[in-house]
């Protein structure tokens, strides 16, 4: 028989330490939906998604029951819509967004990602049309998520796209001003975007992906935090081992669920995303892991070092537990979705500048950060450019999901509900980068991109 303490450990992880599968995301190619006619395009997209992902939610629920582990989200990601829509009108792109939303509602999924454009070297007419209506598309839908890749290590940074995204983010905040500027929580600006990411808001089904695929994102900050607590005052080598062992166990569950979902849905298994994804619930925080490692507060000097070690140990433990690892893979640090980050930001221990430093050593970027509603477009573009540069130069993914909360200022907070949590408005350095941003053009790719 199985070892009793192993059984109890697993049950304790799920019941007390909030171990869950954060998402099963089905990636669906929409290339065969291409049509010159907007209405025909929408019909084909709706039919393809609802037919392909018909069993996603019921199968997810069956697996949840069978293994006794919560699967928090069932999601769909699709081919970047700008590649499928081509040169349809901006209004046509809004129609497509509404079609995606309708398909998501029909399936009963939580989010659908892929209202996206890849413009790291330049924008096609379709990409321009799509980006121009992102604010409207997100304001008029509930479950659609959008992402724009503005840079890559190979291509450099498309600063015209960065400038455009400053405008897009401000307008998205304004259009949803009565709802906590919610549209901004569904929009990410990327550098080096992964094509197999199961996490929202940045998920889309990349061009090199198969017709349909299952990607799984795991979670488990609470499990890591408890393991570190149990380890007591050991040295950092021993602590790294504890984190690795825990990450291995978490990821094995992800691999099991991913394999089972792929088998039952008759779809190839893609990747497991080795991520520590927090939620606003108590005991499910990445910031609390860092504090358990020995920081008085997340954001204190030493935070970047702790996060770097944590991120590395999670990858080392997780990589052996899964046959294919991909997506973002690492610790997430979204401020509004993490009780410890919220508390650290509220008491002033965690600043935007420290968060930027932290993104150099973990998996994503400046994520779910609320800033004053009157922050200028230029300053937002400056924040994006800084963050994106970290990704481009370090050959890693970085991203920006900022919420310039309309009508709010430092001292206020903004609530998004559910897993998206709530965030105190964080102060922003108001000195202007306007002249730099207005230069436009491309920042050339760094020298180390020339590897051939």
């Amino acid at each position: 028989m199985l070892n009793t303490s192993d059984i109890l450990e697993t049950i304790n992880m799920i019941r007390q330490e909030k171990l869950d599968i954060r998402t099963i995301t089905m990636g669906i190619s929409l290339f065969d939906c291409v049509s010159e006619d907007e209405n025909r395009l929408c019909d084909k997209i709706y039919d393809k998604i609802t037919k392909t992902a018909r069993d996603l939610v019921p199968v997810g629920e069956q697996i949840e029951k069978q293994y006794g582990i919560p699967i928090v989200n069932k999601r769909v990601s699709v081919t970047p819509i700008s590649l499928v829509g081509g040169d349809i009108s901006p209004e046509g792109y809004i129609k497509v967004a509404k079609t995606l939303d309708r398909a998501a509602a029909e399936l009963g999924i939580n989010f659908i990602g892929g209202f996206s454009a890849l413009v790291h070297k330049g924008a096609t007419k379709g990409a321009k049309n799509l980006i121009s209506v992102i604010p409207e598309a997100l304001a008029e839908t509930n479950m659609v998520c959008s992402s724009v890749n503005v840079a890559s290590t190979k291509a450099g940074i498309n600063m015209d796209a960065v400038a455009e995204m400053g405008r897009v983010i401000k307008r998205a905040a304004y259009l949803t001003r009565d709802n906590s500027s919610m549209a901004c929580a569904k929009l990410v600006v990327f550098a080096n975007v992964p094509e197999d990411n199961p996490f929202m808001a940045g998920a889309f089904h990349g061009v090199g992906e198969p017709e349909c695929v299952i990607n799984v994102g795991v979670s488990g900050p609470g499990v890591v935090s408890s393991a570190i607590k149990r380890a007591g005052d050991c040295d950092l080598s021993a602590l790294a081992e504890v984190i690795k062992r825990t990450a291995f166990k978490i990821t094995r569950v992800g691999q099991l669920v991913a394999g089972e979902a792929a088998k039952r849905l008759g779809v190839p298994f893609g990747i497991v995303d080795l991520s520590l994804a927090p939620t606003p619930a108590i005991g499910d925080s990445v910031a609390h892991i860092l504090e358990e490692m020995g920081l008085e507060r997340c954001g204190a000097h030493g935070t970047t070092a702790c996060l770097a070690m944590l991120n590395d140990a999670v990858k080392k433990g997780g990589v052996m537990a899964s046959s294919h690892v991909g997506g973002l893979s690492g610790a997430f640090i979204p401020v509004s979705e993490d009780a410890g980050m919220i508390a650290a930001a509220e008491c002033g221990a965690l600043t935007l500048e420290k968060l930027e430093a932290m993104t150099a050593v973990c998996s994503v970027g400046l994520d779910m950060i609320a800033i004053p509603g009157d922050t200028s477009e230029d300053v937002i573009c400056g924040i994006i450019a800084d963050e994106i540069s970290i990704g481009v130069v370090n050959t890693k993914t970085t991203a920006v999901r900022l919420i310039p909360a309309y009508g709010k200022n430092v001292g206020d907070s903004v609530s998004f509900g559910g897993l998206l949590g709530y965030a105190p408005i964080m102060p922003v350095n108001g000195y202007s980068p306007a002249r730099f941003i207005s230069r436009g053009g491309r920042v050339p790719a760094p020298i180390h991109s020339l590897k051939n």
Partner: protein, 89 residues
């Protein structure tokens, strides 16, 4: 296919009888039983063969869960593979 049935809660007379009779009703064959005390609560673990179950696995899990709730016990049924995956290489 084997399932791990865990029963936790306050100790009382007849817990094993309660769970094993329900297993018999749905043709779940109990293979092993063990007990342990963790953090001051009673814990029982059963390993059962559920390959001939009369009802779908999910429904069986729900039945036992409901039965436990009626008696103030926490009963969960999980496929053994989750434990094998996590603890065996």
């Amino acid at each position: 296919m084997k399932a791990v049935i865990t029963v936790t809660g306050k100790d009382s007379v007849g817990i094993i009888a309660l769970v094993s009779s329900e297993c018999a009703v749905y043709d779940a064959n109990i293979l092993e039983i063990s007990q342990s005390v963790l953090s001051e609560y009673f814990a029982m673990i059963m390993l059962a063969d559920v390959s001939r179950l009369k009802i779908p696995f999910g429904d069986f899990a729900d039945k036992l869960n409901k039965l436990g709730a009626e008696r103030g016990l926490d009963i969960h049924v999980m496929h053994e593979d989750i434990f094998n995956s996590m603890h065996r290489i």
